[in-house]
Amino acid sequence: MEQLASLAPYVLILPLCMFLILGLFGKKMCPKVSGLLGTTVFGVVSVICYYIALKYFFSGDYQIGETYQQVTLFNMEWLRMNEDLVISIGFLLDPLSAIMLIVISTVSLMVHIYSMGYMHGEGGFQRFYAILSLFSFAMLGLVVATNIFQMYIFWELVGVSSFLLISFYYFKHSAVRAAKKAFIVTRFADMFFLIGILILSYYTRTFDFDKLTFITDGHVDAIVNSDLRTMTFLGFPVISIAMFLIFLGGAGKSAMFPLHIWLPDAMEGPTPASALIHAATMVVAGVYLVARLFPIYTFEAPHVLEIISYIGAFTSIFAAIIACAQTDIKRVLAFSTISQIAYMMVALGVSGYGGVNGLGYTASMWHLFTHAMFKALLFMAAGAIIHAVHSNEMDAMGNLRKKLPITHITFLIACLAIAGIPPFSGFFSKDEILVAAFETNKWVFAVEYFVAGLTAFYMFRLYYRIFWFGEPEGGYEHEPHEAPLNMTFPLMFLAAVTVITGISWAFGKLSFTELISSDFTGYEIHTHWNIALPSIGAGVVGILIATFLYLERTGRPNKAVSYIKKPYLWAYNKFYIDEIYLFVTNNIIFQRICQPIAWFDRHIIDGFMNLLSWVTNKTSQETKEIQSGYVQQYAWVFIMGVITIVLLSINL
């Protein structure tokens, strides 16, 4: 305990220092040095994270029976609002944060290594590493937060590092536009998050997670002991409103419909950044948020949880359909990410609490883990491919399996994993999600089952288009060749993780359900073959269709599209959601709200002030004639005045 407590601060301090050093002095360093420095230091951070997480899971010191204990390694007062509400910066260790530490440190370290090759020779290399350090700092701070406000602080910081990385190529219009969009959309969601926090904390008088999620007799103490229990607003329980607002914050970061529009555009950033931020870590923050507050959701706001499962289900199928029609490989992966994160949300939405009831919770977190590994792998492989062919478009690729052998094999492994083929890791986590959905809500299950097949289809469409299908028309300008070792090593490492976690699960060496569960108490489950087999079937069917259409260059894809022309166009144009947003922001907010307000200010309010001065001016212009200096005039006025007064006094 003491040992971990003394190590824990370094998890945050080291990346922050790296950010400051690289940010302030990076320009003076040679790029190679800054890259190596950043990677080495983050390597140390990763080792510490692993050590903390493994010690926590396996040493047994933190368990009572089968139950993992929540421990606060340190907690430092940062800002005191009033007697009860204190924002601290601390380190909360429980299975949830421990698993996130592993995910973040692994992916981030791999991205650090990978970027040395991928970003080689780019301008702003040091800046890239500086922001990468900032992001790692923020993301680690987010997952170890001891209170919801600390989470909000780091939540905003990951948002800004995402902004800085998307706008990395700041001289490109598209990158700037994408960065702005990402920041503003997530900020819009954060506003709801903030209001949710304000409501929740006002009534419960605390920000701390350990108080907010403390349960006795199937109720959350902090809620039950406050006015929130009975309060309603417009007929809805206030606690449900608050929890829904908090979920909206998560929905913004995790790109749930209809706040998903920023994520595909965010692919304008460098590919390693996409792999780290927009595939593996930051975008799952919303899932993490719901998981962190899960006791409140499940006990006090079950209806919100139900809504979450519906939003998740809709988003997953919506994004999967769009992914089938995209031609930019990074965008396919982006929509796939949206769909998979929605999968995790669904799992949380259908989950109960405690033991096997909490299967959805476990499955969600493990899908988060496995997805982070194979999706980061997919993105980095995509980066290697883009490096080789200098284009994001599928049309510029094809038949690359011989030219990029390592990328090919690792990409295939990741595709199999995401398609849910055993024994790769994705199969197990996805299967548990389907089981949990099946037991709670058949409709959601049906949707997710269909999405599973769809996922296999679009991933293998992608795979075949890149590695088979036939060379692009006109061949390659430069012969594509395999990426250097510092780029392929992360691919191999992540592929190994994907395979090993899958296999060790299959042979019972690693039991996810013992490590993570909704009440932190381990339980046992068995593979449900009645659901697993059909789900494998769906995956295989998806793969077969993709093989049929895309294995070789034939007229089949075009023919298939011609049957579903309209829907295809809709999916290709992402169902025109971007256009709707554009209309609302440009035509309504800017032209119907901002412009009139600005006009009103300049012409009415300011006009009134100018009118005042004009009136004053005019009056003095007119009245100054009175003081003309002509004695005759004065005498005339004087006499007339006397006469008037005399007449008036006679009358009186």
Partner: protein, 508 residues
């Protein structure tokens, strides 16, 4: 001698010295200004440390370092000074803005001597206002701070400078007319038994409390509170009295914009708090709703207006309307947390708006345009200035780790303590400003700093020189320091707030 008087004496000595120097010796004048500015910064830092130490020992008295001397016996006017945590924070802010303003003015070549003389006069007014405990001296220093603005904008400004200078001065003078009525109203009601009135703030506050406790007549508060609040509200850019701000800032020279938006506008908030609300708490509580509506409008209205402006200074001026609106809005929430947030917001806004105006001045000095449609891709050409601008923008939109976040969050948490529908609606309206702020900040950042280079002539421009770096980095350091370790400042301010917050029903 009292340390507080130094804040008036140092600038006075500097004025005397500069007055004696030949106006041609520009670099000598600049050196004297830097030394003097640095001396002021040291004094305020020393004061802060001393204050924090003394506060540990003396926890009861409301003001520390107090001193009082009879000035004009006929009306019982004193030169009386003293500080609490709030004034110390404001003095520190003023010193930082003054010294950075001096560095920003290094490039000034025209009538340097006269410029700095008026500049010093402005700072005397500001410092004097924050240290005073006497209504009349406060008002006097307030006027001392206002008048130089007219000359500074009218002579050294740009664009429609005569119009702007006239507008700004007349509107603020209009405000001080209300204020004067308010202050004399307070003076004549300050002694309940009749007899000679008092201008001393502490005495008045005690008398008003005693009067209320004895069931005396406090109906006068209801007349003079709105007058005083509006009087200061004009300077605090409260809707609909804010229109001097865009024109005034747009025409003012850089350092004057900095000092004006950074410090002078804070006089408004500080006055509302120290005079209007402290001396007339009952009327404040009754009439708060009117001003909550007005300031609530300010917050959103300023932000929306900023979204469509094309002049950098207009954008920042409207953004100031929004941020300063939040200051008054938070004060009117009348509890300790929100009021602490208000003062934090004053400090934070002072620093970041000074940084903004400094950077806008530097960019304008190079590109000779402030129209965002005529600029683009400056990041590539002058990276240091542009990174500083991005940081200023991030501070303005409330990024954690920079000062804006601390202030805004304290305000929102504090404001949420009111449970009624009216307050809640306006707090949520206020929260929405964090999104709109992001829109207009990113619009500017995306347009002028990022993207392809718009104007080929801009490609040869140079990056910041040493004195510009000193100014920008100094302000950024202060913003980041508050943003990362806000606890000491928040506690120091909170200590001062308590004395006033306890007058209100839900104050503590």
């Amino acid at each position: 001698m009292n340390i507080l008087s130094l804040f008036v004496i140092i600038p006075l000595v500097m004025m005397a010295v500069i007055f004696c120097i030949n106006g041609e010796k520009k670099s000598l004048i600049r050196t004297i200004m830097s030394i003097g500015g640095f001396a002021l910064l040291c004094t305020s830092t020393y004061l802060t440390i001393q204050f924090l130490e003394l506060r540990q020992i003396d926890t009861t008295s409301e003001f520390l370092f107090t001193e009082s001397a009879m000035w004009y016996e006929r009306f019982n006017i004193h030169y009386s000074v003293g500080v609490d945590g709030i004034s110390v924070a404001m003095l520190l802010l003023s010193s930082i803005v003054v010294i950075t303003g001096v560095f920003v003015s290094y490039a000034m070549e025209e009538k340097v001597k006269e410029y700095f003389l008026w500049f010093l006069m402005l700072s005397i007014g500001v410092y004097g206002f924050f240290i005073s405990l006497d209504l009349f001296t406060m008002f006097l220093f307030y006027e001392v701070a206002l008048i130089p603005m007219y000359l500074l904008i009218g002579l050294w400004g740009s664009g429609k400078k005569e119009y702007s200078a006239m507008k700004l001065t007349l509107m603020l003078m209009g405000g001080s007319a209300f204020l004067m009525v308010g202050i004399f109203g307070i003076y004549y009601n300050s002694i309940p038994e009749g007899g000679e009135g008092t201008f001393n703030i502490q005495e008045i506050a005690a008398n008003v409390q005693a009067l209320k406790a004895n069931g005396g007549d406090i109906s006068w508060e209801y007349i003079f509170f709105p007058l005083t609040f509006v009087g200061f509200g004009v300077l605090g850019a409260m809707f609909p009295f804010h229109t001097w701000s865009p024109d005034g800032h747009a025409s003012a020279p850089t350092a004057v914009s900095m000092l004006h938006a950074g410090v002078l506008m804070k006089l408004g908030g500080y006055g509302c708090f120290r005079i209007a609300m402290y001396l007339m708490p009952d009327a404040a509580q009754e009439q708060a709703w009117i001003f909550i509506i007005l300031t609530g409008i300010s917050v959103v209205y300023g932000a929306f207006s900023a979204c469509v402006q094309n002049d950098l200074k207009y954008i920042n001026a409207y953004s100031s309307v929004s941020h300063c609106g939040l200051v008054l809005f938070a004060l009117l929430m009348m509890n300790k947390t929100a009021m602490t947030g208000a003062i934090l917001q004053m400090v934070s806004h002072g620093l970041m708006t000074a940084l903004f105006f400094a950077l806008i001045g530097m960019i304008y000095g190079r590109t000779h345009t402030r129209d965002i449609r005529e600029m683009g891709g400056l990041m590539k050409i002058m990276p240091i200035l542009c990174v500083c601008y991005v940081i200023a923008g991030l501070a303005s939109l409330g990024l954690p780790g920079l000062s804006g976040f601390v202030a805004e969050m304290t305000i929102f948490v504090g404001a949420f303590e009111h449970t009624d529908f009216f307050h809640r609606t306006f707090v949520i309206l206020g929260c929405s400003s964090i999104v709109i702020t992001a829109v207009y900040i990113l619009r500017v950042v995306g347009k002028i700093l990022m993207g392809p280079v718009q104007d080929k002539h801009h490609e040869t421009l140079t990056d910041a020189v040493w004195y510009e770096k000193v100014a920008a980095f100094g302000l950024i350091a202060a913003i980041a320091a508050i943003g990362m370790a806000p606890l000491w400042l928040s506690n120091m301010i909170g200590g001062g707030i308590e004395n006033i917050a306890k007058l209100f029903t839900y104050g503590l």
